[in-house]
């Protein structure tokens, strides 16, 4: 029977961890339990941080918000929305992927997983938006780094280190995030019925102009059936480019791109503000893999290799969507096909990228590597870093790599 402890203050967290440290009891750290991500771990104790919730400081004119780590992400976004601001890295609502319904989880969880949405290739990932944090390390000590300002070189940038660390270094208690003004208008340029190669070409060309696109994704035919937008033709492949900003500017830039891609004028269309936002929200939230029971992976590659990669697995039962202007491939494969999984991984490594298993049934989470390890030296260094925070390895042991 797993013991779950739900403290309400930073001190309680620290004491709890200190205690577990002295008795060498491993702890699983939980926010809102919205994502069953990472390797499957078994710990006798569970630390639930959902009661560490609340906005500590929010100064719109200073472009930051300081929150407790268990605060629900959508509560934060609602507050920001009131002042016409947002988290420009577009955190995904992974609830759809894992459970078929919305659950954005806690802000601490988002930070621990470094999950960013479609705008990431333009606006930066979550790790580019974290300004500071407070947390408890494996010894039960309260550690902090960073502050509330964007320019900060005081000591090591530990905020970056703990982002995407899946709770293996610290149990977060407070987080400071950078916020940006919300974009006035969003429009999406759509090109239907072209193949991936042409789509990637379009992305590349757009990014070599001064038009500033903030979303670039590709849905092969059949992947976009779940969309329910009036102006969206889901019978063929969809290539989508998002433009945001003041309305006049957006309209002008959309026209610039239309002219640039005149050769596709027969299948070009535009989604206006309302539909455009829904389109990208759905893409960011991985609605195309809603409640998947298979294995879903996140593949990051240099964009010039994306087409080559997809072509290699054309004959397999590979469902995929390309995002981040070709830098990211979301793919789903049948849950029992471990051969295909390994093949994918090897090819990704060959092409200079990496593959993360985002969702998988438990038996896969036990067997397969969650992350891609190419360089043993990095694993050795990672172990040393882990030990510098958590020498007894009690925080989420084995969540990222086996043995760390």
């Amino acid at each position: 029977m797993r013991e779950i402890y739900s403290p309400s203050s930073e001190h309680e967290v620290a004491d709890f961890i200190k205690n577990c440290n002295s008795r060498e009891i491993p702890i699983e750290i939980i926010g809102h339990n919205s994502k069953s991500i990472g390797r499957l771990i078994q710990c006798s104790k569970s630390l639930n941080l959902k009661n560490l919730s609340g906005i500590i400081e929010y100064f719109p004119e200073e472009l930051y918000i300081k929150v407790k780590s268990g605060t629900p992400l959508d509560l934060i976004e609602k507050e920001l929305d009131k002042k016409n601001q947002e988290l420009s890295f577009e955190p995904s609502d992974m609830g759809f992927l894992y459970n078929g319904k919305s659950n954005k989880g806690s802000v601490g969880g988002a930070v621990a997983c470094n999950l960013s949405g479609s705008r990431r290739f333009r606006a930066g990932a979550l790790r580019d938006h974290i300004l500071g944090f407070r947390g408890i390390n494996g010894k039960g000590e309260i550690v902090k780094s960073g502050g509330t300002v964007v320019k900060n070189v005081t000591g090591y940038d530990v905020s970056k280190l703990i982002t995407g660390a899946y709770g293996t270094l610290v149990a977060l208690t407070e987080i400071v995030l950078k916020v940006q003004p919300k974009n006035e208008e969003s429009q999406t340029l759509l090109v239907n019925n072209i193949n991936l190669k042409k789509a990637l070409n379009i992305f590349s060309k757009s990014m070599q102009t001064s038009v500033e696109i903030s979303g670039a994704c590709f849905y092969p035919a059949k992947m976009s059936k779940f969309f329910k937008l009036n102006d969206l033709d889901t019978t063929t492949s969809i290539t989508a480019i998002r433009l945001e900003g003041p309305k006049i500017s957006v309209v002008e830039r959309v026209n610039t791109l239309k002219k640039l891609f005149d050769e596709y004028k027969k299948t070009i269309s535009v989604l206006e503000n309302y539909q455009s936002r829904i389109f990208w929200q759905n893409t960011t939230d991985l609605q195309f893999f809603n409640n998947s029971t298979n294995v879903v992976v996140k593949i990051i590659l240099p964009p010039v290799n994306t087409d080559q990669f997809i072509n290699k697995f054309e004959n397999e039962e590979l469902k995929y969507v390309v995002d981040w202007a070709g830098n990211l491939i979301w793919a789903e494969i049948p849950e029992n096909d471990s051969v295909l999984l390994r093949q994918l991984r090897m090819e990704v490594i060959k092409l200079g990228g990496h593959m993360t298993i985002i969702k998988a049934p438990n038996h896969v989470r036990i067997k397969e590597d969650f992350l891609t390890i190419v360089d043993e030296n990095i694993k050795v260094l990672s172990l040393k870093i882990k030990e510098s925070f958590d020498p007894k390895k009690i925080l989420n042991p084995g969540k990222m790599y086996s043995g760390i």
């Binding site: 990431r120 290739f121 900060n152 530990v158 102009t209 240099p302 040393k384």
Partner: protein, 722 residues
């Protein structure tokens, strides 16, 4: 010939780079003075035998005569000739018909002579940063080592418990015993060897005495021989891989606070230097293997390293230290690949920031972080300090623009973090390295993001009757949903200084100037300009001008970019501080700075990266007036403490380095610092890389248990603690 001992002392001071090897922690200069006082009260030492004197003088003359030849040979990478010269000299002495002890005495004198010679060259070389000279001196030192070894390959050395000397080769039949050795032959020769070694490594001030020898303490000879070996090895490594810039500097002078100020002023000099040395050695064709070998060797032998890019840093992060090897990477400056498809550039770390932009300009791209020193600062240094620049509000700092690095750790492990792909898995090691101030590893390759230039860039020059108004205007612009490309505020003293200096045409009757730069498409920029105009008017701006063209826009910036030189013109010296504060606290902090200015009695001018809250107070002082430097430092520290107090941080872009090291405790408590030190341990277990920077030293000692505190004396007493 007389050796002036004081001159010798001055020359040799600080040249002992191997102090880590001696167990003896006694203070060198104290011992030296004591020994001189006891043994040579007249502070001069005579060479007794006139014949020897003559011979040595002759040889020296020969050496002097062929100095140019040596120089030329070395220039053409042919320093074998120097060793040959030594061999010849040695042979001469060897074959001469004098007694063995006389030979030994000659040998010692020769060593002294050559050491003098080499040190005068060394001094000159360090002053000029003349790399070739340094190479030459190294060759000479190798020659000295050779001389020593040859002369002291003496048979039958029983060694009074202090190890073998040379080898037990052919037995010589000479048993003459002259030149005033009072003790037996064996110990006498060992003593002489010890002296010779000390004269080269200078760990033991007994070196110069030819008369009244005393017993060598056990173990000293051994450790000296070991030092000699290490020195030889190091020089071998250097000779083998001659094409890099390993600089063993005498750092005593440079450790003075002066140099942190002078560091900025030598931006020009450093830049000129690179141009000057352009044709000498081209190390850009070498791979990271070079650095792997160097770091591995140093790791095995516990030698500390300070990596240095262009040396334009403003916090002393790359400041050379007396007991560290300086690894200069500014010549490692080739751009390896420009990839417009993937919108990135791969370069070696010595490439300057501006040349990166210039390399992609032709296609309308640029590299966004643009610190003011961009003409000289290196991209490797930018990463180490997470440099910003005027445009960092909109485009981020270096950490948001780096895609990957190749790094060599202190033990020689090579790793790649990131690359051309957009992000990495696992711990964000790339993010950790950025801003780590050279403490975690040495960069050998860098991949950065490049952006397309915006279609249109325009600027507004706004004047206000109070700093509060300008600050409020900035807040309103941001709350209004506008993120300009750049925003800078200058206060009245700075406006006056820059206007006098750069004739930028700033309004003379305002208390504060705000420059707002906007970029994007033409229509977007025009919309934003109108909005900013409204906000400025709402905040009672008394002066408003919009740039009509690029030329006018650059003229707005002219004054701001000339801020530092303008102050440099006005004041004999200045300290530039770097603290970041919440924007809305600007007025409050400036008021406090005015108060502190009166308290410390020094003038100050302020410029402010209003976009991101980074404040640069420029404290003016005159280092010729005693105590003004200390006052300026204290003033600076007070400002930074206040920045932290109002919710800001110690440094926005200059880094902690040495300058703010002891202020770290204002922002972090023991546990925070210990956590960061633990991270350092994971990368550099022996703490050999860039020691003494960023983290307060006392913490490191006490916790790490690595430093032996002898009788309460801390090591490196001479390193000033600010």
């Amino acid at each position: 010939m007389d050796l002036d001992l004081d001159k010798c002392y001055d020359k040799f001071q600080g040249s002992n780079i191997l102090s880590d090897y001696t167990d003896d922690e006694t203070n060198f200069s104290h011992n030296w003075r004591k020994w001189v006082k006891e043994n040579h009260p007249d502070r001069k030492m005579n060479i007794k035998d006139p014949k020897t004197k003559q011979r040595i003088t002759q040889n020296f003359q020969e050496m002097s005569d062929c100095k140019d030849k040596i120089y030329n040979d070395l220039y053409r990478n042919n320093d074998k000739n120097i060793t040959n010269t030594f061999e010849n000299l040695m042979d001469e002495i060897d074959q001469s018909k004098i007694s063995k002890d006389e030979k030994i005495a000659n040998g010692i004198e020769l060593l002294h002579m050559l050491y003098n010679y080499s040190n005068s060259l060394l001094e000159h070389a360090f002053e000029q940063d003349d790399y070739i000279m340094i190479q030459m001196v190294n060759a000479i030192i190798l020659g000295l080592i050779l001389v020593t070894k040859r002369f002291f390959k003496l048979p039958g050395n029983s060694g009074s418990g202090s190890g073998q000397v040379g080898g037990e080769n052919e037995t010589e039949n000479e048993t003459e015993n002259e030149t005033g050795n009072e003790t037996g032959n064996e110990t006498g020769n060992e003593l002489l060897l010890s002296r010779a070694l000390s004269s080269m490594t200078f760990s033991n001030p007994m070196s110069f005495s030819n008369s009244s020898p005393t017993m060598i303490p056990a173990g000293v000879l051994e450790s000296q021989m070991k030092q000699l070996e290490v020195m030889e090895k190091m020089i071998e490594v250097q000779q083998k891989q001659r094409l890099y810039d390993i600089d063993i500097r005498k750092a005593e002078k440079r450790l003075a606070a002066q140099d942190i100020v002078n560091d900025m002023l030598i931006i020009e000099r450093d830049n000129l230097k690179t141009e000057h040395n352009k044709n000498r050695f081209d190390i850009s064709n070498l791979s990271h293997k070079l650095f792997v070998d160097i770091l591995k060797y140093c790791h095995e032998n516990n030698i500390k390293i300070v990596p240095r890019g262009s040396g334009t840093g403003l916090s002393g992060g790359a400041l050379p230290l007396a007991d560290c090897v300086l690894l200069g990477l500014s010549k490692f400056n080739k751009i390896l690949e420009i990839d417009f498809e993937n919108r990135c550039v791969v370069t070696q770390p010595g490439v300057t920031n501006l040349s990166l932009t210039k390399a992609v300009e032709h296609n309308g791209f640029y590299y966004a972080p643009d610190p003011s020193s961009q003409i000289a600062c290196s991209i490797g240094g930018n990463i180490a300090e997470n440099s910003g620049g005027v445009h960092s509000l909109k485009y981020g700092t270096t950490t948001n623009n780096v895609l990957g690095v190749e790094i060599v750790l202190m033990d020689g492990t090579v790793m790649k973090f990131g690359g051309k792909k957009l992000e990495s898995e696992g711990y964000d090691l790339l993010g950790l390295i950025t801003g780590s101030e050279g403490l975690l590893g040495v960069l050998t390759e860098v991949t950065v993001k490049i952006l397309k230039k915006p279609q249109s860039v325009k600027a507004l020059l706004l004047g206000f009757q109070s700093v509060e108004d300008s600050g409020q205007c900035v807040s309103d612009i941001i709350s209004g949903g506008i993120i300009p490309a750049g925003m800078e505020i200058m206060d009245k003293p700075l406006i006056k200084a820059t206007d006098d200096y750069a004739k930028a045409g700033y309004p003379k009757d305002v208390e504060a100037i705000l420059i707002v730069e906007l970029d994007g498409t033409e229509s977007e920029v025009n919309i934003l300009i109108k909005r900013v105009e409204e906000i400025a008017k709402k905040n009672k701006s008394t002066y408003l001008r919009i740039s009509k063209n690029d030329e006018e826009r650059l003229r707005f910036w002219l004054g701001r970019k000339a801020a530092f030189p303008a102050i440099g013109d006005m004041s004999p010296d200045y300290l530039c501080m770097d603290g970041t504060i919440p924007r809305k606290k600007l007025a409050e902090v400036l008021k406090e700075i005015t108060k502190l200015s009166q308290k410390h009695g020094l003038k100050v001018a302020n410029c402010f990266h209003a976009g991101d809250g980074n404040l640069h107070p420029l404290i003016m002082f005159d280092s010729n007036i005693k105590s003004e430097l200390k006052k300026a430092e204290k003033f600076g520290a007070d400002i930074l403490k206040y920045c932290v107090k109002v919710g800001g941080v110690l440094t926005g872009e200059h880094g902690v380095g040495i300058e703010k090291r002891d202020l770290m405790c204002e922002m972090f408590n023991d546990e925070d610092i210990q956590q960061q030190l633990n991270i350092k341990q994971a990368f550099d277990d022996k703490s050999l890389l860039n020691p003494g920077k960023v983290y307060p030293i006392l913490h490191r000692c006490a916790e790490g248990g690595k430093m032996h505190i002898h009788k309460g004396d801390t090591k490196f007493k001479d390193i000033p603690r600010f």
